[in-house]
Symmetry: C2
Subunit: 550 residues, 2 copies
C-alpha cells in the first residue's frame, strides 16, 4: 500500500504539483476576501463554545491529504471575520493592498533571516534599511541617504511586530538613554522612580504593559489630564513636568497622534516645546495617525512629530498592509546603536547585521517587504490619495450616523474614528428630565450603556455591520450626566478609502432596522426608570470588549 | 490620459486581475525556491556596498505598474539566499513545508487580529489555542483538552515572534512569579539582585539581551561552567545554587536542549532535580531541540523537559515553518494569566481574547496557522519521520566532513549541528611540533582561525556551499592548544531531512577543491611560523559573524 501522506517539503514534490496547491491557496484567500466563503457577510457569527466544538480535536497523528488540508483551512476562513469588508467599521486594519499581499506571498518563499546580512538576508537587509530611511524622511527626521550608509548606528529605526512592541522599544531606548548605568546594573541601581508621563483616558494599553514588562512597574506611569477632545492636556503636562511627585523622575512624555478611541491628535508642537524645556525624552505614538504623513494636506496635523525623540508607526493599522508591520524610529540614529552587543561592529559601514540593533528580535523574516512594495507600487502620491479619500469617506459615514437620529457622539476627530452611544432621539427626549435629578444619573447611564451594548451586539451577531465596543468617559459631558460618567460606547473606524453608495445605504438601513426594534424597549425601560421609587443598580461598565478598548 | 498607477486595493480591482497577479507572486516564489532565480546557486554573492548601490533610491513618489513591481521583487529574490537549498548548511531554518506555505498564503488574506476573539479573530483564536494545547501535550505538560476550555488562565502558552522573544517572555513570567510586587513597584522594590543562572559557552545571546531589556542589567546573569561537550555542567550549577554570590538571588536556571553552536543537549533531569531542590524556576530553551519532541525514538534525549516551568520552542528553526513561528509554554497555565490586565476576564470560559495573556503583543496576525497546518498535513508520524531522517542525513554529512581529511571537530552532537576548524591532515602533522612549544600556541591558533575564516569565506562567495562561521572555545582541547583557546570555527547545521547523493557528492568535491587551493598556502605559513624567531601577532578572534554566533 502506498503511503497516504503527501510529501511534506517543497523539495520533495514535483514543482507543478506544488504550484497547483499554492495557486489554490491564493484562490481560497480570494474566496475569503470576495465574501464568497462568508455568505456575503462580514462574518458568520459563532460563540467561543461553538467554535471550540467545531475545531477542537486531538493532536493529529496520521496526517492528511492536500485536499483535506485545503478544506480544513477553508473551514477556518468560513468562520473568520473580514477586516477588509467595507461594513467592518471597528478597526482600520484592512490589509488589502495588492502590492503588500504580493510581497507577503513572495517573502514567505524567500524566508530571509533579517538577523544578519551574510548567510542570512543580503538583499533583504538592504531593502529594510532603505524602507527605514524612507520612513525617517516622511517623519521629517534627519536622513542619511542609504547610498551614504555609515553603519547600523546611523540607521535610526527598526521593524517591530506591532504598535505595542514599538512603544516598548521606544521606552527601552529612552531608559537606556536616561540611565546608561542600567545596561549593566539594572533598574535597581536607579535612585529615583523613573516615570512615563501620559494623559489618562487617551492612552493605549501598551504603556502600562511596557512599564510592567520592562521592570518599572505600574508605578512607572504618571497620569496627566486629557482634554474634552480626548487629547493630552498640555497645561496638565506642564504642571507635572514643573513639579513631579517627590522621588519620581519623568524620563518620557508621550504625545498621541491619533488616540485609539477617537483618533484625537495631540498638540505635538507644544509637547515638543515642553520636553525640550525640561530635557525629557519625547515619544510620539503615531500608530493610528502615521498614515497622515503621506498626505501633504493632512500631515500638518502632525506638525512637531519631527521633534520627537522616538516615533511609533503601525502600517498594519491604516496603511492597508497585513500583520505584522510596525516601526519604531529615533531622531538620534544612535539610540538603537546603544543596544548593540558589539558597538564596533555597529559602526562598521560593511556591516548590515540588523540583529545588532533590534532589541527583542533575533531570527526573523522579511516582513518589511510588504510596506516597501506598497510604497513602490503606489508611491507617496498614490498613498496620499488613499489616505485623503478615506478621510472624506469617514466624514460621510459620520454624517450617516448623525442623520439616523439613533446615536450621540462622545468623541470625534476629523481623521477616521469616533465614539458614540445608542441613544435615539425619542429616548433622549424622554430622559432629558433625568439631567436635573442627580439621583437618577447612574441609572440612566447604565441604561444607555446596556442598550449600546445590546445594539452593537445585535449588529455583530447579524454579521452585517461591525462597530467596535469599549468603555469611554464622557469627558466633554456630551450626554449631560457628568464628565466623570463612563459609558459603553460603540466606535466607528473607517479603514476603507471608498465605500460604494449601495453599501453605504445598506449600512444605514441596517442601523435603522435594528434601532427600531430596540427603541421601543429602551423607551419602556426609560419610563420605568424615571418613575421608579427605588434607585436602580447604577453603572456597571466593563472596561474591555472590542479591540480598541484594550 | 489614464492614470498610470494601478488600483491599490484588492477591492478596487477586478477579481481575476488580482488572481493573475497573486498567482504570479506564487510562481516568482517557486522560481526562487527551485533555484532558477539564483543561477542554481545557494546565493549569488554580493557585498553590502554592492547591494546598496543596486537597491538604494529616493522615496517613490509616482508609483509603478504591477509588472514593474513584480520585476523589482524578482530582483530582490535574485540577491537573496536560500536557506532551503540542501547546500545551505549554516542554519536549520528551511521554511519549506508546503502545508505551512499554503497556510501562510491564506493567513495573509485572512489578516485576522489575534488580540481578541469577537470583532478580531473568532476561528483563529480557537485554532491557536488548540495548537498551544497540542504543543503542551508534546512537551509532556498537564493538558486541559480544548473541549474543556476553562478560560485563558488555563491555556499556558503563547505564540511569539522568535526564540529571543520566547526566552524574554519566560524570564518576564519567572520574574512575575518570583517578585509579584514588581508588577506595581518595579524591580527597584526588589532588595536582592535577581539573577539568571546559565552556563557560559553554550548560552544564546537572548539571555543577555533580556537581562538588559527587562531591567535586570547584565549583572542579572550568573555564569556556570560548560562541560567539554558544550552542555551545562550540573555540578557547577549545583555549587552556585548552594552558595550564590552575596546579594544575589537566583530566580531562574536555564537548561539548554540543543545549544546554538553544537546542539549539545543538557541533562534536563538533573537540572530539574536541582531546581526543585532549591525552589528555583527552571526554563528549558528548546529552540533547537524542540523538534525532537515529535519522535518517540529521539525525544528521550529531552527527558525532564516536562518538569520545566517554562519551555521555548521555535518551529521556524528545525520544523520547516517560515518565520515567524515561536512558542513560550508554561507548566503552570496561570503563569501567563498573571500578566492579564483584567484577571476576571482571563478566568471566563467565554473569553478567548488572547491579547489578555500575550505580553509584548497587541494586534497581531494569524502566524500560528502555519504550524497548525503542518501538524494537520503530516501528523506527528510524518513530522517524526522528517526529524529522524534529518538526523540520519546529518550523520552522513559529518562522515563526509571527516573523510575529506580537511577539518577537526571542536564540538559535535548526534542531533543536527557541529563545529569544526579548517585543519587539513598535512597541516595538522606539520604543526604537531607546536603542541610542545607553548610560545607558539597563540600563533598556531591564529593561523587556524585565519584559514578557517578564509575557507568559509571562499565557499560562501562561491555560492556553492554555505557553512556558519563564529567563535568557539575548544573546551575539550580537541586541537591540543589549550581549553581556553578560542577559534573561528565553521558550523554545519543540517536542516534538510534528505540530501540527494549527487548533491552530497557535489558538496564533497567542492570542499576538496577549495581545500586543495588553501592547503599549500597554509602549509607554507605554518612552516614559516614554526621556524620564525620572533613571535607572531597571536589570537585575534572576532566574536560574531554568522547567525549562530549571535
Amino acid at each position: 500500500m502506498s503511503d497516504p501522506q503527501p510529501p511534506a517539503l517543497l523539495s520533495s514534490r514535483p514543482l507543478d504539483d506544488s504550484r497547483t496547491l499554492l495557486h489554490r491557496a491564493v484562490d481560497l484567500g480570494l474566496d475569503f476576501t470576495s465574501g464568497e466563503l462568508r455568505d456575503g457577510l462580514v462574518l458568520r457569527h459563532a460563540t467561543v463554545g461553538e467554535l471550540i466544538d467545531r475545531f477542537s480535536g486531538p493532536i493529529p497523528v496520521a496526517g492528511t491529504s492536500d485536499d483535506q488540508l485545503l478544506e480544513s483551512v477553508a473551514e477556518i476562513a468560513r468562520w473568520s471575520i473580514s477586516q477588509a469588508d467595507p461594513r467592518y467599521l471597528a478597526f482600520p486594519d484592512t490589509g488589502d493592498s495588492i502590492a503588500a499581499l504580493t510581497a507577503d506571498i513572495v517573502a514567505s518563499f524567500l524566508n530571509q533571516n533579517l538577523i544578519a546580512f551574510d548567510r542570512s538576508a543580503p538583499a533583504a537587509s538592504v531593502i529594510e534599511a532603505q524602507l527605514i530611511t524612507w520612513l525617517r524622511e516622511l517623519v521629517g527626521y534627519p536622513v542619511t541617504p542609504l547610498a551614504d550608509y555609515q553603519g547600523l548606528a546611523s540607521l535610526g529605526g527598526m521593524w517591530t511586530s506591532g504598535g505595542n512592541m514599538s512603544n516598548h522599544v521606544a521606552i527601552a531606548a529612552a531608559l537606556a538613554h536616561t540611565y546608561p548605568e542600567a545596561r549593566r546594573s539594572g533598574l535597581r541601581a536607579v535612585s529615583e522612580q523613573p516615570v512615563i508621563l501620559l494623559a489618562g483616558g487617551v492612552e493605549h494599553f501598551s504603556y502600562l504593559a511596557a512599564a510592567q514588562a520592562l521592570g518599572l512597574g505600574s508605578d512607572g506611569l504618571l497620569w496627566a489630564d486629557a482634554t474634552p477632545d480626548f487629547t493630552s492636556d498640555t497645561a496638565s503636562v506642564e504642571r507635572l513636568l514643573a513639579s513631579p511627585p517627590p522621588g519620581k523622575r519623568i524620563f518620557m512624555v508621550v504625545g498621541v497622534a491619533g488616540n485609539c478611541r477617537t483618533t484625537g491628535i495631540d498638540d505635538l508642537q507644544q509637547l515638543a516645546d515642553l520636553c525640550r524645556q525640561y530635557g525629557v525624552w519625547f515619544h510620539v505614538d503615531a500608530c493610528h495617525g502615521g498614515s497622515l504623513l503621506f498626505s501633504e494636506k493632512l500631515k500638518v496635523q502632525l506638525a512637531g512629530i519631527e521633534r520627537a525623540d522616538s516615533v511609533a508607526l503601525d502600517p498594519h493599522k491604516g496603511l492597508f498592509v497585513s500583520y505584522p508591520s510596525s516601526y519604531a524610529l529615533f531622531r538620534d540614529p544612535n539610540a538603537l546603536g546603544r543596544f548593540a552587543r558589539y558597538p564596533d561592529r555597529a559602526d562598521d559601514p560593511d556591516c548590515l547585521d540588523l540583529g545588532l540593533i533590534t532589541p527583542f528580535y533575533g531570527s526573523r523574516g522579511f516582513e518589511s517587504l510588504k510596506l516597501w512594495a506598497l510604497m513602490k507600487h503606489q508611491g507617496t502620491e498614490g498613498i496620499s490619495r488613499l489616505v485623503e479619500d478615506r478621510q472624506a469617506t469617514y466624514q460621510r459615514m459620520v454624517d450617516l450616523l448623525e442623520r439616523t437620529g439613533c446615536f450621540r457622539m462622545l468623541g470625534t476627530s476629523d481623521f477616521y474614528r469616533c465614539a458614540f452611544v445608542f441613544l435615539p432621539d425619542q429616548v433622549a427626549q424622554a430622559i432629558e428630565a433625568a439631567a436635573v435629578q442627580p439621583s437618577l444619573h447612574a441609572s440612566v447611564r447604565a441604561l444607555i450603556s446596556r442598550y449600546t451594548m445590546a445594539f452593537a451586539d445585535r449588529l455583530y451577531r447579524s454579521g452585517t455591520v461591525v462597530f467596535d465596543l469599549f468603555a469611554l468617559q464622557d469627558l466633554a459631558d456630551h450626554i449631560g450626566l457628568g464628565t466623570s460618567a463612563k459609558y459603553q460606547v460603540m466606535g466607528m473606524c473607517v479603514g476603507h478609502p471608498h465605500i460604494a453608495d449601495d453599501i453605504e445605504h445598506g449600512i444605514e438601513q441596517t442601523l435603522l432596522d435594528h434601532s427600531q426594534e430596540l427603541t421601543a424597549a429602551m423607551l419602556t425601560d426609560a419610563h420605568a426608570l424615571l418613575t421608579a421609587t427605588a434607585p436602580s443598580d447604577g453603572d456597571s461598565v466593563a472596561d474591555v470588549t472590542g479591540p480598541a478598548g484594550w
